[in-house]
Symmetry: C2
Subunit: 145 residues, 2 copies
DNA sequence: TGCTGTAATGAGACCCGATATCAATATTCG
DNA sequence: CGAATATTGATATCGGGTCTCATTACAGCA
C-alpha cells in the first residue's frame, strides 16, 4: 500500500501532494466512485485533501480525458479511470454496478447519422440502464415505492 | 404470501386538473423538458400548478413508464413523452435545434450488449450533440457563456 | 541556495435541483 | 350528499456541486 505511485507529471498543472493522493485513491478504487466516496476513502487513509480539491481535480482529469465521468441514475456524478479511449456504460439501476462496453457499430451509426444531417463536431452519449443478473435473481421487485 | 398486491393498474391515480395541465404541457413540449421548464411553461400559460406537484407527477409517470427520464450533462433530469415509436435526438449544441433519428442498429446493439451481461429490463438513452450545418457555416466559435 | 510570482488548496458560504412536511382541498365512492 | 382519502402546494429541508478568497506550496530565476 505504501507504494504510492510516483505520479508522473501530467498536463494537469503543477504536481502537488493532493493530486498524487487523489490519483492513487482513484487507481485503487475498483469500479466507479463518486467524488464524495473518494473523499471519504482518502480521509480513512489518513490523508487530508479538501473536498473542493477532489471535485476540482476530478473535473480537470475529466477535461483532460484521463478519467471517465458518468451519471448514476440519481444524477450523482461518478468517475473512473478510463482505460481505453471511447466507450459507453451499462449501468444497473438497482445496485449501480457499471460495465464498460464498446460499440464500434454505434460509433459508426452516430457518425453516419450526424453526417447525413450536416452536423459536425459530433459527440454522443449512450447510457444503457437495466437490472443486472444479481439484482434480477434476488428479490428484485420486493418493494417498489 | 400476504395479500398479493392487486397492483392491477396502478395508473396515475385520481384525475385532477393539475395532472391534465402537466400532461398537456408535456405534450406541447417538443423534445426534452426539465421539471422547472415545464413549471415555467405552465405558469406562462396562465395555469397554476405547484412545483412539487410537477415533480411528483413526472416521477409518477416515469415509474409508470409513460415518459422517459434522462439526465442532462449537468445532472439535471429531463423528461420526454415516451411514444410507442422509440427514437433518439440529434441536437445542435449551438442553436438547440433537434432532429429525431431512428437507429434500429443501435436498438439491436443495446439489447445484445445488455443481454450478454445478463441485464434485464433494459432501457437506453442516446443523445448525439453536434453543430448543425447553419451553425457551422456561420460564426465559428460562439461558445455559450 | 533562497526568493518570489503564482497556481493550488481548503473551509465554508452559496447555488440550485429535488424531496419531505403537513394543513388545506378536491375527488371518488357508498 | 357526505365521509374517506388521495392530492395539492407553500415552504422547509436536503444534498451534490461550485465559488470565494485568504493561505500555502510549487517552480523558476538570480
Amino acid at each position: 500500500m505504501a507504494g504510492a505511485t510516483p505520479t508522473a507529471t501530467r498536463s494537469t498543472g503543477r504536481s502537488t501532494r493532493q493530486k498524487a493522493v487523489i490519483d492513487a485513491a482513484l487507481a485503487e478504487a475498483d469500479g466507479f466512485v463518486t467524488a464524495q466516496e473518494l473523499h471519504e476513502r482518502i480521509k480513512s487513509q489518513g490523508d487530508r485533501v479538501g473536498l473542493a480539491t477532489v471535485y476540482r481535480f476530478l473535473q480537470t482529469l475529466t477535461d483532460a480525458g484521463e478519467i471517465d465521468q458518468l451519471r448514476l441514475p440519481d444524477g450523482e456524478a461518478a468517475y473512473r479511470r478510463c482505460s481505453r479511449g471511447h466507450h459507453h456504460h451499462l449501468v444497473c439501476r438497482v445496485c449501480g454496478r457499471a460495465v464498460e462496453v464498446e460499440g464500434p457499430a454505434v460509433e459508426r451509426w452516430a457518425a453516419r447519422v450526424a453526417d447525413a444531417h450536416g452536423f459536425t463536431e459530433v459527440r454522443h452519449t449512450v447510457e444503457i440502464q437495466g437490472r443486472c443478473a444479481d439484482c434480477s435473481s434476488a428479490a428484485g421487485r420486493a418493494e417498489r415505492m
